[in-house]
């Protein structure tokens, strides 16, 4: 953990989650913040406020920092964006405010056509998280897979801390759910490591090989 702390170069990272109601964007944000906190950082997670309606676009935010986080504002200039549903790309400006060099973790089985091509300063991680979720969790839930992937590509949280967060946060849902989600985190982490900088087609092929 201490070495992790060192690895955070800036005082504050901001992550924005996009999803649809019911996909667990808020939960994912909470898991990420919990993991960071477990790693010894200050962290904060909260949803874009509003009523939670299944299927409607939702946002959630995470801040991870070395000093206590005081502001409670929404995240406008994220360091990373996690997109749980590629269909959102069509309707929402998902990349707004994303800092240069920012990370996009996208849940998609194929490279979407409408990825913003104006920004060439971004790192895209595209992985079929729903499909992995389906396989591991029995339901197409992309959350923990995407978190694993984010951890893999950013170093902002440790895999162990994520697993801890999953264990604690989902404890109420039973051991099987916890175990499966830990698997999902690991799988996302593994996939993202393998895919780092790898193009979509390769990803597709890689997945096929499995």
């Amino acid at each position: 953990m201490t070495n992790k702390q060192e690895s955070i170069s800036r005082s504050l990272y901001e992550i924005r989650f996009h999803g649809r109601g019911g996909q667990g964007a808020v939960s994912a944000a909470a898991l990420l913040a919990l993991a960071a906190f477990d790693d010894g950082f200050e962290s904060q997670a909260f949803p874009k406020f509003g009523s939670e309606r299944r299927g409607a676009p939702v946002e959630a935010y995470v801040r991870i920092g070395r000093t206590p986080i005081r502001a409670h504002n929404q995240v406008y200039t994220p360091d990373a964006v996690v997109i749980q549903d590629a269909t959102l790309l069509r309707s929402e400006p998902l990349l707004r405010g994303l800092k240069g060099g920012g990370v996009i973790v996208l849940n998609s089985a194929q490279r979407p056509d409408d990825i913003d091509s104006d920004r060439d300063d971004l790192r895209w991680i595209v992985l079929p998280a729903s499909r992995v979720g389906e396989r591991l969790l029995g339901r197409p839930l992309p959350n923990t897979v995407l978190l694993g992937a984010l951890a893999a590509v950013t170093d902002w949280v440790s895999l162990a801390a994520l697993e801890n967060a999953v264990t604690n946060h989902l404890a109420r849902k039973g051991d099987a759910v916890v175990k499966a989600n830990i698997e999902a985190v690991r799988e996302g982490h593994r996939l993202a490591l393998e895919l780092k900088g790898v193009h979509y087609e390769e990803l597709e092929g890689h997945e096929e090989k499995k």
């Binding site: 808020v26 944000a29 909470a30 913040a33 919990l34 906190f37 200050e42 962290s43 904060q44 997670a45 909260f46 949803p47 406020f49 509003g50 009523s51 206590p68 986080i69 005081r70 502001a71 409670h72 504002n73 929404q74 406008y76 200039t77 400006p93 990349l95 707004r96 405010g97 994303l98 913003d116 104006d118 920004r119």
Partner: protein, 395 residues
């Protein structure tokens, strides 16, 4: 141990540690997580209390009123329309001097309907006779609940702990939860002198006449005035025992030598602190003062802290429609009474959940307000300085 907790959960845990025996509530966004968590605690046997699902906020307030009158510590929470629906009972609880504690998850009021945060709901109740504490963080919200019970029971005044809806209620933040033992040490067992009891029958809530109603109010007012010292003392006590305190009535930030002071309340003060840091780094003498306690209104204390400022900006998430900023008006009165002529700029912002971003706050501080007489307040500019820039960029 510090934990990352949702604000609602932090407050629920704090409530649990205070061992209320009756919890009654009616769900309303954004208060729901608090009562859901408490319901779970009761269901799990972690809180030995009657959890009563009231049929309305009006009922919920009434239930805790009855419970406290019948001799137990009680809790309720609400927001917005729910708080307004409670209004009648809240005045009544205060008038009967019942030590009730509630949490208001601050939210805008209708119309138009809006579930997001501002302070219009609790501000509307500022004259109800309740002590009002506004929390800046989840930690403070939780700690304030614990303090609130001790204040309420010592002063025989109800206490409303206000926490910003969503900004706090739905945010996960690190929170240090005290141990049960420590809370038990801080908070004596519940005692209320006028408990309903057949062994010592008393009549509570009886009628009054023109020749004594005012005296009831005078007593209530005196109790409020006296509660200032109690709030300060218990916060200090809390600091001694738990290693953190919240400034009692007022919480200053970089006030030393500050020529411009931003006065505000609630969670927005976190961003204000960031802005103050930013501006100080740029060499500006800016400080912040957080009004933790709106009632009793710490007029003397405010004068003491703001006396040397040259410019005072009051940033509020509530509007007295047709009058302007509420805190600003009260501050103006306090300063005027103290013979201080520093202008007070009243800025209203963040209504209905609009985010008062650091940039907006900075803009408010940088841009001087209108100095024409008769202008009661101005409104903070729309957020999204960055937002718009990037949208343009993306297109």
């Amino acid at each position: 141990m510090r934990k990352l907790l949702e604000g609602s959960q932090a407050v629920a845990e704090a409530v649990r540690l205070c061992r209320p025996q009756v919890v009654a509530a009616y769900p309303i966004t954004p208060q729901t997580h608090i009562i859901e968590r408490l319901a779970q605690h009761v269901a799990d046997g972690e809180l030995e209390a009657e959890f009563i699902n009231a049929e309305s906020e009006f009922g919920a307030a009434s239930i805790v009123q009855g419970a406290v009158a019948a001799g137990v510590r009680a809790f309720t929470a609400t927001a917005s329309q729910g708080l307004l629906l409670m209004t009648e009972v809240l005045h009544n609880i205060a008038g009967m001097r019942l030590p009730v504690v509630m949490v208001c998850a601050n939210r805008a009021v209708s119309a138009p309907i809006n579930i997001f945060n501002d302070h219009q709901d609790s501000m509307a109740l500022r004259d109800s006779g309740w002590i009002q504490l506004y929390a800046e963080s989840n930690q403070e919200a939780a700690d304030s609940v614990i303090q609130a019970y001790r204040i309420a029971e010592a002063c025989e005044l109800p206490v409303m702990v206000c926490m910003d809806g969503f900004y706090l209620t739905h945010s996960f933040e690190p929170v240090e939860l005290p141990t049960q033992g420590a809370v038990d040490e801080f908070l004596p067992p519940f005692h209320f002198a006028r408990t309903l009891n057949p062994a010592t029958p008393m009549t509570l809530g009886g009628g009054s006449e023109p020749d004594n109603y005012q005296e009831y109010r005078v007593l209530q007012h005196e109790a409020m005035e006296n509660s200032r010292a109690v709030i300060e003392a218990f916060d200090a006590d809390f600091g001694t025992q738990f290693g953190r305190s919240w400034g009692g009535l007022l919480d200053g930030y970089r006030l030393e030598g500050a020529q411009t002071v931003v006065l505000g309340t609630g969670s927005l003060m976190g961003a204000v602190r960031d802005v103050v840091d930013r501006l100080c780094d740029q060499g500006r003498a800016v400080g912040a003062l957080r009004l933790r306690c709106l009632r009793p209104f710490p007029a003397r204390e405010l004068v003491g802290r703001l006396g040397s400022a040259q410019r005072i900006i009051v940033l509020e998430k509530a509007l007295s429609v047709g009058a302007g900023g509420i805190i600003a008006a009260e501050l103006r009165a306090a300063l005027q009474q103290a013979g201080i002529t520093t202008p007070v700029e009243s800025v209203i912002g963040g209504l209905g959940g609009r985010d008062l971003t650091p940039d907006v706050i900075e803009a408010v501080v940088r841009n001087a307000g209108p100095d024409e007489a008769g202008v009661s307040c101005r409104f903070a500019p729309q957020v999204a300085v960055h937002h718009e820039a990037h949208e343009e960029h993306e297109e």
